[in-house]
Structures are given as C-alpha cells and as structure tokens.
Symmetry: C2
Subunit: 226 residues, 2 copies
DNA sequence: GTCTATATGTAGATAGAC
DNA sequence: GTCTATCTACATATAGAC
C-alpha cells in the first residue's frame, strides 16, 4: 500500500467533457461494487463491466485498485464534512443553548439525508463508509477523511459536559457512530423490504434518542458512594 | 453458495488423534486469517501456510472455502450461546428483580471475557463475528448462529418494559450489539497500544452504561404533549 | 490422511496501436 | 483517452500415488 490518497496530477490541459463523464462513471461503478462486495471481492474487470468501459480504462483513470478505492471514498468525504460542519455551526449560532440532540442531528442528518435523497449512489457510499471504518487496512484513509470532523463534534459535545473527561465523550461518540453505521448498513435495508417502512426522519429521531441517552450516561459516571 | 452450515458426515471410524489436531490447526489458522483479512482477502494457500499443512489438506478438512468459513464461525457459536443463555438464566434466578444492566452483562460478558482471557484465538473470533454481522453475504449464517440467542435476550429486556413495543426494544438491542462489536474490533485494539490500557471489566462497565441508557430511552418514548 | 502434481480460471497491471 | 492483446502471478479445486 503506497499511497492512500492519490493526489491529482498537474494536467497540461483540462480533460474533455467525455473524459470527465467516463471518470465519473468509473467512480460510480466502483462505489457500487466496492460497497456491495468489499475491496477484495470486487475486481477491476467487474468495475469496467459495470461502468461500460474497458478494464484498462479503469486502471488509467483510477491509478490502480487501491488508489481507485481511496479515490472513491475521498470523493464524497469533503462534501459530507462540509455539510456536517455547517449544520453544526448553524446549531451553535441559533438562539438558545446548544443541545446534545442538536449536535448529534448535525452529524447524523447529512449522512442519512444524502443516503436517502440522493438515490442508490449515496446509499452505496454509506455502506462503503461502514466497510472502511471496520477494517484496519484503511486506517490511514479514515484518519484523513473522517477523524478531523469527528474531533470537532467531540469537542462540541464535551462543551456540554464540562466535568466529564474528553475520553469518556469520545467513547460515547464512537459507539454512536457504530450505531449510525448499523442503521445505514443493515436495519435500513431490512426495514425497507417490510410492510410499513418508516420515514428517514423517524429513524433519525430514534437513533438520536438512543445515542443522546448513551452519551449522557457515559459522560456522567455515577459517584462511587463508599 | 450451496451449504452454509456443513453437516458432519457419518464416519466409518473415529478420526485419529493426529487428524483431529490437524483439523483444529486448520480451523484456528482459518479463524485468524479470515478475521484479519476477511473472506475474499484470505486464500486457501495462506491458511495452509499458517497452519503448516498442504493446500489440499485444507480442502480435505474444510470442504471448500465457503464451507470452511461457515465451519469456523459455527464452531464457537454454540459455546458462546450456551455461556450467554446460562448467564441470563443465572441472572433471572437470582434473588431480587432482573435489571437491564444484568441482562446486558449476561450478553456482553461471555463474549468479552472469552476474547480477553482465551488469548488471540478468541479475539480473532470476535473480529470474525463483526465481519459476518456486517456482510449480507452471511445472512443465513448469522440467522442460524446468533439470532435465536438474541431473541431470548430481547424477550428478557422486553419483560422490563411492558409498555414498550418489542420493535423498539429490538432497535436498541441492535444498536447495542453494534457498539459491542465496535469495542471488540477497533477501540480495544487501539487502547491496547496506549499508555494505560483499561481492564476488560472497565470496558464492559462503560459499554453497559451506554447501552442501558440508550435502550431505556428507546423503550420509553416521550409522550407527545400537544 | 497426507503428499505431489496439475487442471482451469481469473486476478491486477501494462505495452502499444489508434 | 480509448481500445486490443498479452504478461505474470495466484486463485480454487481435484486426481492419484503413498
């Protein structure tokens, strides 16, 4: 594993419109297949077939399989971070004090809204994030793409619990993210096949209720009464 | 995917002691590698090398790659279920009323204790369970190996919240399991590298605190005051 | 049960024509 | 940028000697 985040080369001229479409088709196809089958379960050939291009073109635009995977993950990470941080800023600048529920909504909301509203492409990305988060192989990638934003949210929550250690807050936040990923990867899909699928807002509410209570409990440990 | 749970063939004679050791070595090696690299990231050759046997022997004892994977997961599932259910029974038969914390301890405890006490082999299994739980490819396997026990625990928790719907309890339970897996797969490993690694009992306590608060919140939704 | 040898397919990556 | 053709390595699986 040489380069986790491939840097864009300085180009002589701007790429043609067709080339950009090809590149996007390859990234979209890779996103769907990586999400469905994982990194090792997906071949470059499959991606080319899914995108309707030649295998060698996938190499050309992706720069190798690992670089392509990192590119796919990083592509939407910025958009997601911006949405999350601006939602957090909006919550902090409103009238009235910040609340734990509001902070969690700023973190979960953009993820779940994009996954629902923007069609199967963002839904695949949600599954991809879950894969990346669970696998130590992609530790560098998550540190670059997601940890900085997570740090801001942990700080914001810590501001609500001035007597709690930042570690205790971080613990609760990690558990909360795992719950969010569980919702995006398994429960959502299962429920969508059921008789009366819930609205995304309902899922978001129940997730926030669970995590807010858990974080509050983690941040306010009981005094050891001797 | 033909057979998820391979059934043991009726044998003419009992296998020799050496054969049993070989088989165990193969299953142990497969467990470690599947846990570290996933299903597609692990080759039969790697497993043979790790176990110190020939590639064809892995086939002979495992019955193909998918069957071997299912065998590895199922091998410890019974042991884990028995430990969990007997801990639950012990909690229910004690003096005094059952508590949510006690029920969660009966579920989390056996998993985390085995993962810590029984050495790297059970720790690898913990990671394997996380992989299996997250991947739709192994849905049948989880339904057979883990869902029945989970059902008993959801019932036990539902008994504590007679006014809550079983669905709301199940939601909280799913999020709790995801938090447990997050602890076993990422936070544990990270903390072990730190300066002052916590005791397993401390992790268990903080996990129970988080999940008990979350489940309670999920099970007692706020009345909509108009 | 255990080994060697091999069959058969597919993986990632690249060279070079256009 | 795009395509065809191909290289090299490794995958799963099996046949058959011992």
């Amino acid at each position: 594993m040489k380069l986790q985040i491939p840097q864009e080369k300085q180009r002589q001229r701007a790429p043609s419109k067709r080339a950009l479409e090809t590149k996007r088709a390859i990234l979209d196809a890779a996103e769907r297949l990586f999400a469905a089958r994982g990194f090792d379960g997906t071949s470059i050939r499959d991606i080319g077939k899914e995108a309707g291009v030649q295998t060698s073109l996938v190499h050309h635009h992706g720069g190798g399989k690992e670089a392509l995977f990192a590119r796919v993950v990083a592509r939407r990470a910025d958009e997601l971070s911006i949405a999350r941080l601006s939602a957090l800023a909006a919550h902090n600048h409103q009238r009235g004090p910040a609340t734990l529920e509001g902070i969690l909504a700023a973190f979960f909301g953009p993820y779940l809204e994009k996954a629902e509203a923007a069609g199967p492409q963002w839904h695949a990305y949600a599954r991809l994030v879950a894969i990346v988060s669970a696998d130590p192989q992609w530790k560098n990638l998550t540190e670059r793409c997601f940890d900085p934003t997570a740090g801001h949210f942990i700080d914001a929550i810590a501001g609500l619990f001035p007597h709690a250690s930042r570690d205790d807050i971080a613990v609760g936040f990690v558990y909360s993210v795992s719950a969010m990923l569980a919702l995006a990867t398994s429960r959502w899909r299962v429920s969508a096949l059921g008789n009366n699928p819930k609205d995304m807002a309902d899922y978001l509410d129940e997730l926030i209720r669970f995590c807010a209570a858990g974080i509050t409990a983690a941040a306010t440990p009981p005094k050891n009464a001797p």
